[in-house]
Symmetry: D2
Subunit: 361 residues, 4 copies
């Protein structure tokens, strides 16, 4: 209820501030017997980690995750898994100037008014640094989904500023620092980022998440629909302002005869729905898009107020990404993986043993 937990059966609860002692989380409800090691989680943590390319913030965190419980002799025990990442590079001094003022576009003002007392160092709990634990927890879900069902959850860049991606080659995504699936756009992206750095400004991004091999039947009928829970999970990532399933906002100007995905004995003819019908997975690819705002941590001077309500200037120095969208790729994958994992287990709880004679297309 206090907002640091996601999931019903597969539950992830996180803690930790940007410049605190450590980040951690508890993953509860993971089935027993899953072979897992810290190295399985490290892969995605390294993809998210700042300081790995010249395009992302130069803050250097080892982000080494440790299992504290729940894994015995290399396999999950079915009890709660404790995960910990110690903060090593904190540099709190960078942030002392903003202790008493509210950075525009940040959660400083809202945290101050909500809680009265806040950890202002690097945004404290509101920092995207917290998402490291989501990535770690998501990696457990990804491993289970892959191993048990062959499900893969992948994400890539779809647009950054006015650079739109037209073709998707998943093999390219991990080959460049933009998670860009279209090699022909790399130069344009590089130029955009370099210009932003010069200007001290930032830009938004659009990402696409795709999950394949998802079995038909996941999602609950009325409120906890699979699409609703994906929307919740993606909108809950820092800086996200929009979420689409399948054709998303394009449906506004579609006709029903065009949008409906007709069924044939060998499968659906199209996938405008993004793999979800009535809130339940159809067996097609799950497709979702998300829009991330440009970060407000920029060096272009801005105006704001301080804790006494007086006008002051604000310039965010420190180490920040010109485009937070780049690093959100593994986070978006993790969130969708957590949702799918949770719904798989939920589905199993109630519907184990359901068998239909209709072939699953």
């Amino acid at each position: 209820m206090a907002g640091n937990t996601i999931g019903q059966v597969f539950r992830v609860t996180t803690f930790g501030e940007s410049h605190g002692v450590a980040l951690g989380c508890i993953v509860d409800g993971c089935p027993p017997g899953l072979e897992i090691s810290e190295a399985d989680l490290q892969v995605d943590l390294d993809r998210r980690r700042p300081g790995t390319s010249k395009y992302t913030t130069q803050r250097r965190e080892a982000d080494e995750v440790r299992f504290l419980s729940g894994v015995f002799e290399g396999k999950t025990t079915g009890t709660s898994i404790g995960l910990l990442i110690e903060n090593t590079d904190q540099r709190s001094q960078d942030y002392s100037k903003i202790a008493d003022r509210f950075r525009p576009g940040h959660a400083d003002y809202t945290y101050h008014q909500k809680y009265g007392h806040r950890d202002y160092r690097g945004g404290g709990r509101s920092s995207a640094r917290e998402t490291a634990m989501r990535v770690a927890a998501g990696a457990i879900a990804k491993k289970y989904l892959k191993q048990e069902f062959g499900i893969e959850v992948r994400c890539c860049l779809s647009q950054m500023g006015d650079v739109t991606i037209d073709s998707v080659d998943w093999d390219q995504v991990e080959q460049n620092p933009f998670f860009c699936p279209d090699v022909s756009k790399l130069d344009a992206l590089d130029e955009l980022i370099r210009n932003l750095k010069k200007e001290g400004d930032s830009v938004g991004a659009k990402l696409t998440v795709v999950a394949n091999n998802v079995p038909v039947g996941l999602g609950e009928p009325v409120f906890d629909r699979l699409d609703a829970d994906i929307a919740y999970a993606l909108m809950g990532i820092n800086a996200v302002k929009g979420v689409e399933i399948g054709d998303g906002f394009d449906v506004v100007n579609q006709r029903g005869s065009e949008h409906r995905d007709e069924l044939t004995p060998s499968g659906f003819k199209s996938n405008h729905a993004g793999g979800i019908l009535g809130g339940i997975s159809s067996g097609q690819e799950i497709v979702a898009h998300l829009a991330l705002k440009p970060t407000s941590s920029i060096t272009v001077p801005g105006e704001t107020i301080n804790v006494d309500g007086e006008t002051v200037d604000v310039v965010t120095r420190g180490r920040h990404d010109p485009c937070v969208g780049i690093r959100a790729v593994p986070i978006a994958e993790a969130m969708v993986a957590i949702v799918l994992m949770d719904h798989l287990l939920r589905h199993r709880a109630q519907n184990a043993g359901v068998h239909t004679s209709t072939p699953k297309i």
Copy 2:
């Protein structure tokens, strides 16, 4: 967990199928002492009700809601409120033809595969008829929000097909059957609907929800952010495929210096964020958009399969809206009101007594 409940403190659990005996819900967690009557709920139910204009389905349901519990001498008691709407106009025979085939774009196929056994009459549980109970429950939330905080939650049409709304006059919204805030677009909308009826086709819609007077501080920090919960609530409405907060997908091509809403002693300079920062309400207007797909209940013939996996034709006769977006206006209001109500009570649980000397702008 089984998906028929929304909310944590203010909890709404619904039941009922399109052509069953009755629809109902339990509203739990409503504060005691709220003056409420069935008439308060009926207003919004009538706005949602089919058959009220020539533009919407001609199915006629009185949709009269009754309190079964939780209200005594005109005031809520603080215990669970039972609500009931009996189904009067069921015409199950209309649907007998589709008992064994899966309508494209509907939940027939996914329900069949998930549950093995489904109520096929009019979509059963997956029918938008279920949303009547959300509207009823939302009306209780709306009354409390209005009375205690002056909060108003309103929704209007923003786009239907290629007809975009450019100006918003809230006084117009209830004056026309399209919930359109721009009187200059009524003719275009009328023409669009008439053409669709001729073609037997349907079209999508975009709606905008606005909540004003929302106090600063609502929303939880990491997962149950106010924007995440609004996304969950709106994406959970039948036919919704996209949700935006504030500038939504436009942020992809914005600069940080443009997007961040600067603060002044007298308020924010802009509201690109849609009233939510770091997942917590900022005290500005909450602004959200949603995209609804064109309904698949159309008379344009389509192809599908039946329960034996064979190809069959499908034509949806019966009484259906060419644009489901129209009727979703009160539903979207209800969903946002339920989310705000829940977060108000949640905020109060943990943060009652928090006081800051900083003026709330």
Copy 3:
């Protein structure tokens, strides 16, 4: 959160007051495909129903339950099941005298102080009449448990006042109005009740619930232990003041060498633990006891205060049981059945597919 729901996967949410329009509940999370009819529920409702013998309150309620949703063509659909019992014999006038005074031993004072506004008619929401819906919901759980696992949940009287039951013959339990398993004690019970009626007084009772054929492995490890959830469920029945699992309070003076149930290849040697080890079912019989206080609805005059804080007398006229324990038998069964059902589905969610080579003893 507002306290009218029990269960996580198999969820039961109730509404309704003693003298309101109707009682109802929503059973969510029931697996699809279960054959069920109103008659299946009516059996237990009739066992709980007041007015069925000279030993229980003479209030006459038909207590006829109706399915409003979730059951189609005689089988559950997997979506939420709405249940309704209309109140027919309300006689509100009996209670008008107590509208402004707090009956000792009742919830009048605590409801008044908690909610400010209460339905005083017959105790409103705090009346044991609410338990009719628990019995109805429990009957669904009982049917599923019996059919899928052969699990039976039974309850009987163990003690009333100073009349203790020494031997258990389950065949006798349904043959007498006391749910007494020992035919030799019927005369003593009859005399006790008759004396209490003369005195206008009441007495407490102890019940025993037994569930057999429960598979090993149900219950979660730390907080949601099976015994903890049974304690929660039984203590939540009106008038219950104590709960024991297995040997209960007798363990205080046992030795470890006596209490521990040794294992042999053909089974446990004893069952001091009541079928639960480390919070998880062991495959043995689940045994629980509960103590119910004597009802405070008696004609022996008592002293109390009114809403103005002044001393007043109180005599509870109306139709009341001298021993509420009698009618709690089907309620206790229902509660344990709901807990077992919920834990079966929860276990399946996380541990489906777990296989051990160790024989289950």
Copy 4:
């Protein structure tokens, strides 16, 4: 849902095994601004800690707790609090002999059958060592309850074996290693424990928890009653087999005229109810009792089976308490404090602002 979390608003989720790297927990939902330090938690941890007297197990753990998040400049921030205790004295070798056999009275067999794969070292997750985190979390609740409401939650020994405690002097409780409130029984307790050590056997215990200054109105009406939640919390402590509220099982032979606590303008005349009416606190002292079984970790040889289903002997060497009841005193306090804290915040969520003109007695 996976059972490692307690509470709704004030939520505690624990992780860690007896001989793993560390124990930890996340306390979520704590109000911001509470002054708290590790020393506040250490007091109760030291009371629970093994090896502190000759009467308890000689395993030595420093049990030093650290805040990892959620506390900034000495005050809670309102976000999730991470707590960690590293395991220092693990001696895994002591347990190697029992890796393949199921100790009677322990959770070895049930964990094995439930999960297939278990951490057998010292009981792994099922070890009472896990309760250290409950004590740590409970200490936060206790501090808040004390500071904001003057509520004190205390526990003492009521009976051990056949030694019953007749008088309660709270000042004595912390003065002796038995948490015994009756100084005249110390010799008898000492003798009992010494004899048990000689015999290599163990004995059960009964504890009493009392909470005073609890305001009227805490607890929800039907399922999440305060007494039901206390029963859940106490029955969830390792080895507990019985829970009573107020007079507990004595009510079975009480008359209604004797049990009901009459009200007067200056307060209740008695407290048979243990401070809870209709599941809601009455403003009187909350009184609960719990029975703890004798531990099965004894040196008296016993019979059991191994993972191959064969009969084997079992003798539990190592360092174990002859009476686990002694160390459960701070645990029981912690559990009741967590429940009260949670219900205080829950009450506030829904009923803030409720005012009655009736004086609270």
